[in-house]
Subunit: 377 residues, 2 copies
């Protein structure tokens, strides 16, 4: 099985502390078809206790790897460094923390950039339709592999919140507690518009080649624009106004209609980093999965019916007022439907200026909330 | 001079009621260079009174032509049909209404798609740098041509609001009254991010050919995406949620990652219409002009100093709470700076759900405001 991992690694290296679960049984996909084998990449922090009851599992957003925080095995900063570690809000002296690279992503877990064992070539568009439910089921498989019967806490951010919700509905009692951050039971029309336009940028790039690009020659222009649009939707206009305003860069535009303002060079720098580090087909699959997700489909179209299938002690729902992609009314909707279906709910609407990405940067707002919730057994 | 008009007409036909002012004197541009001759396309409604004192002049947003309303000469619906006409809020029984196609646009007024008289080829990227001040000065030229010394009312929407503001600052006393709708004294970092990404979509389209595309083979993919992004920023997420929600289209996607939701087919339909009907280079020039504009540059960096150059009786400023492109705080800023610089100001913050485009569609909110202001001599 190591072949798969190595070949994927050659294009999109997984972080060095990544562990792998190789699932050799058939993995049926939610919309039909199945994977004959499945590799799940994950990372852990802390120690699993004797009765295997102190696990905290994290589903990530669309693009991160499983490297949520540094550790002795990988000292590089993780994507949620301020949150996870000894004495931090997600305290690795107390919890055995697991973060999974999503199914369909490209940092070690099987996805469109992985080798299809049937053809010995990358799946590309032959990868089966990917849904949030499949990501949730991959997480469940990983827990089986780790012989964890019930999590202390299941936590999901953004797309990962959808995955955590789906896992809670489809696998009753998977976790004693649930934390959903900047997530939703489905995508809004606006989010669908924004994300489908990002996908259009990629598939319209002549270098995409119907998904058959060389991994070292990706559709860079499409990926760059899609990432810029992503960044524009992840942060709030007010934050950018404070941060960049109308500050200009000192150099003259390098090409017709090139960058003149700092906000443009910020977008240029951050989108440039994305090219070659995230697989375009994986991006397309994961992005579309978010548009498709409808938690209510698990309850004959009624959200409360779906949520009645969930068994847990307490759910924490956190949203951000300035989030345009997963707006605050969607967090309220989650909280109300959870309450209506009989669950104990804590709900927080944060006034952070940082938009959808606030959980990644706003330690002041998020750290105490999570610390309090996790300490309150 | 008719040559110019006819050649432009062949690609981007001006509406049939368009009139033309041919300015044969040199027209200096704000950032340097100049045009040797200038054609200004405009349309009028109503009758100019004997003392030439009843004129109401409209600067448009980025993409419309001068055809703001129907008339006997052109019965097709204009872009502000509900607002302009006999007995309507802008009452053509009272006012002589003039709407100008912006300098740099492609519906009869000189712009990058027009024939450069020096080369007998279209200007394309040889068109001089275009600023809001140039559009304002073209408007002033048109008033000279029409022998109108002072307007009753100068009105601008969106980009046109910036033009009206610039004209008011640079040509003191140009109008007795001023109406600025969903406009600003400069663009926010977010608006710059969104617009520069739209420009990137166009210049990254291989069909753009450094601006040398054939007019019948424009960079369609880039223009389509830029328009979709425009539409996404012009309307509010709440409006789309009400209008489209998660409604699906009945047909299957026609290509990989193709449209599945109604909001996508709405964007597809409306952006498809834009291709071939608006010139890509004109779009680039006008879009960048908005990013560049800084009213405070006319007052050594202080908005109030710039506004002290304005001479008028009364200014009406209207903004919309759900506008993400010209947010409500920019309207408040305009109103406060106008008051601080000694002007009589009426200010309205509308709760319309229709975002930046509200003035185009929200008759209920906008019509009474304009009617009352215009009747209150």
């Amino acid at each position: 099985m190591t072949n798969i991992t190595h070949i994927v690694d050659s294009f999109y290296p997984a972080p060095s502390a990544t562990k792998y679960a190789h699932i050799s049984s058939e993995f049926p996909m939610h919309r039909g078809e199945s994977l004959n084998q499945l590799t799940i990449a994950y990372e852990t922090w802390g120690e699993l206790n004797a009765d295997r009851s102190n696990a905290l599992f994290i589903f990530t957003g669309l693009s991160p790897s499983a490297h949520a925080a540094s550790s002795d095995r990988d000292k590089s900063q993780g994507w949620w460094e301020f949150m996870i570690g000894p004495g931090k809000p997600i305290d690795t002296n107390i919890y055995y923390v697991i973060c999974m690279n999503s199914l369909g992503s490209c940092f070690g877990t099987t996805g469109p950039a992985s080798l299809n064992p049937a053809t010995q070539k990358p799946y590309r568009l032959d990868f089966p339709d990917l849904t949030i439910e499949d990501i949730a089921n991959a997480g469940y498989q990983l827990l089986q592999h780790l012989q964890i019967r019930q999590l202390d806490t299941l936590l999901g951010v953004s797309l990962g919140g959808m995955s955590a919700l789906a896992a809670s509905i489809m696998h009753s009692g998977i976790s004693r507690r649930l934390i959903l951050i900047s997530s939703a039971s489905s995508s809004t029309a606006y989010a669908i518009a924004i994300r489908s336009l990002q996908r259009e940028m990629i598939v319209n790039d002549p270098m995409w080649l119907e998904g058959n690009y060389r991994f070292d020659k990706p559709p860079a222009s499409g990926m760059k624009m899609a990432r810029k649009m992503g960044l524009s939707s992840y942060r709030s206009a007010d934050e950018w106004q404070q941060r960049f305003g109308r500050k200009r860069i000192t150099s003259q535009p390098k090409k017709p209609f090139g960058a003149e303002f700092e906000v443009q060079s910020y977008l240029e720098y951050n989108s440039e980093k994305f090219i070659g580090s995230f697989d375009p087909n994986c991006y397309l699959y994961l992005s579309r999965a978010m548009d498709w997700f409808e938690a209510c489909s698990h309850g004959e179209g009624v959200l409360e019916n779906a949520f009645e299938k969930i068994v847990l002690d307490h759910v924490l729902i956190i949203g951000v007022e300035s989030d345009s992609l997963f707006p605050i009314w969607q967090q309220q909707e989650l909280a109300e439907a959870m309450r209506s279906s009989g669950h104990q709910v804590s709900y927080a609407a944060l006034e952070s200026i940082h938009g959808h990405d606030a959980f990644l940067v706003d330690e002041t707002e998020f750290a105490p909330l999570l610390k309090n919730f996790l300490n309150n057994k």
